[in-house]
């Protein structure tokens, strides 16, 4: 008989793997952003079993994860719009060099 823990962690691992494949195959930053959000989804599922052991700590971790990831994603969305303004495109190859230009 399959336990609930095994089901949860299998789903989490499957979503994480799909997010990784999406990230390494993405050609534009919007798809990269979507894959990051999927990775956070996998993390939320991995936190769930912690609610059985230490609910107060698990809730604090969930709070921190949700707020920090949401703010990070909002900044990333701003960065995508800024990149489009500056480079006239959101392709991954436009940011492959990185850093400041001399």
């Amino acid at each position: 008989m399959i336990s609930q823990l095994a089901i949860l962690l299998s789903i989490s691992a499957a979503i994480l793997l799909i997010a990784y494949i999406t990230a390494i195959s993405s050609r534009d930053l919007v798809r990269l952003l979507i894959s990051l959000e999927l990775m956070f989804g996998a993390v939320f599922l991995a936190i769930l079993p912690l609610f059985s052991i230490a609910p107060t700590m698990a809730f604090a971790i969930a709070l921190l994860t949700i707020f920090t990831s949401a703010s990070e994603l909002l900044v990333l969305i701003t960065a995508i719009i800024l990149l489009d303004k500056r480079k006239k495109g959101i392709g991954v190859d436009k940011v492959a060099v990185g850093g400041d230009s001399l």
Binding site: L16, L17, Y20, I24, V30, L63, T68
Partner: protein
Amino acid sequence: MDAVTSLIAAAGAFAVLSSIGVLLTRDNFYAALYMSVTMLLIAAIYAVYNVQAVVVMIALIFIGAVGIITVAVAASYRSMPSRRVDLLWVAPVIVVFAIVCYAYIKLAKGAVSPIEFGYFSAVPTDYLLVVIFLFSVIILMMLSAIKLARRVEP
């Protein structure tokens, strides 16, 4: 298999299917919609375990705020890019995924049964300072982003 396990398995299977939709679709708009559906199903799994505070936070913050903005951005940049896997990143992905699977198989033991805890009532007492700090972080980061955006020449 009892009802709770079946419900989790069904929601999880649909979550994995919708995340496969993110991978397979060529349109960014549909990819963002599939991602929102995946997050909604993850929130549904939390709801099965009666952790309602996290359900509300995922629904409001992740799907309501970030998800909708992502859908809007994806609708603006609705390109159909050709897919190409960068081979340099395949090895790190395999290594990280192997470590995650090893940790899951070897270290994760026991049953999942969330303890009843007043999550909503604990927010204004136990977690008030954390929530205030986190809201401050979000506001600070958004102000920095706005300042940066105003500095960039179109």
